[in-house]
Amino acid sequence: MDKSLLQRQASSMRRALFDQGYLDEQFIELEDLQDDSNPNFVEEIVTLFYKESARTVYNIEQALMSRPLDFTKLEEYMHKFKGSSSSIGAKKVKNECTKFSEYCDAENTDGCVRTFQQIKQEYSTLKNKLETYFQVAREAAQT
């Protein structure tokens, strides 16, 4: 495929991720840490994020099944999850996490359950979009 077309595709995919609010400036901070010695740094961090947070997502899911909810425990898990989402610039995920924390503070069971569904959705959508973007970006980078 024409290289410049791939580059343009990668570029517009990247721009869309920002325009549509999936990513924030932290992602750019990570991109700035990428260089010839670490050409795949961002992708590595994102991969690590999804690997590490899978456990936390599972823990939250489990915790959401008990009644009454242990809001303290949930907040603890969420704090960790939100922290790493924030570290990769996952804007929508992070915003949903903030809502979740608010529901936790208010001890609103239904709010927590509903918001977590949203979190999982955003989390999964972002994963797919980033995977596709990284693949195109890699192909574009190959001479």
Partner: protein
């Protein structure tokens, strides 16, 4: 008065009889120009990011995943005798605040309680902009408090401060407090970090 004279004499004696007594360096080892930073964070993602931030800033980095491991690394866990123990040379410790087991605050206290390591600047990192938390950390002797996610500019600024030897005590503890809450923006700590950096040499 007498007590003070005695203790400074004791300090001199200690330096004479413990040539390997680890010095918390105000400047990095001459010639290498490299700061050795010990970074502590339970999040694997954050450890990888901070490690990269520090390496890009030409620092030597050791990352550990808990306060306990940090103490072990420093030789403060009581497992090794401190006499004659050629301890590691660390110029800066950066620790996450919220960690299971030992929090960053608790780690900070342990380090400041140590006669060997209390001179090492300790920076706390937290995703939460909680004023009481920031206050407690600064009161306890933290050099700085960084809002996460930590940026390259934060690390560069920190490095500049440490390289200038601003990690040493100046007797101004508590006098240079960060500004009030209306100076903080919750979205990003741009007002916060420079505010704290301008409060340097408070220790």
């Amino acid at each position: 008065m007498l007590g003070k004279i005695l203790s400074s004499e004791m300090a001199t004696v200690a330096n004479v009889f413990r040539p390997n007594f680890p010095q918390a360096l105000e400047k990095p080892p001459s010639g290498s120009g490299e700061l050795h930073v010990l970074a502590v964070d339970d999040s694997h993602v954050d450890r990888k990011v901070i490690e990269r931030l520090l390496k890009i800033s030409s620092c030597k980095v050791t990352v550990v995943d808990s306060g306990t491991r940090a103490l072990q690394y420093l030789g403060l866990d009581g497992e090794k005798s401190s006499i004659g123990f050629d301890s590691v040379k660390v110029n800066l410790i950066m620790t996450d605040y919220s960690m299971p087991g030992m929090t960053g605050y608790e780690l900070l206290k342990r380090i400041k309680e140590s006669s060997i390591f209390r001179e090492i600047p300790v920076v706390i990192m937290s995703s939460e902009n909680i004023l009481t938390r920031i206050d407690s950390c600064l009161e306890e002797g933290a050099e700085d408090f960084l809002l996460k996610p930590v940026k390259l500019s934060d690390v560069k600024r920190l490095k500049d401060c440490i390289m200038k030897g601003e990690g040493k005590k100046s007797g101004e503890k508590g006098s240079q407090k960060r500004r009030r809450s209306d100076d903080y923006s919750p979205s990003r700590s741009t007002p916060l970090s420079p505010a704290l950096s301008s409060k340097k040499s408070r220790l």
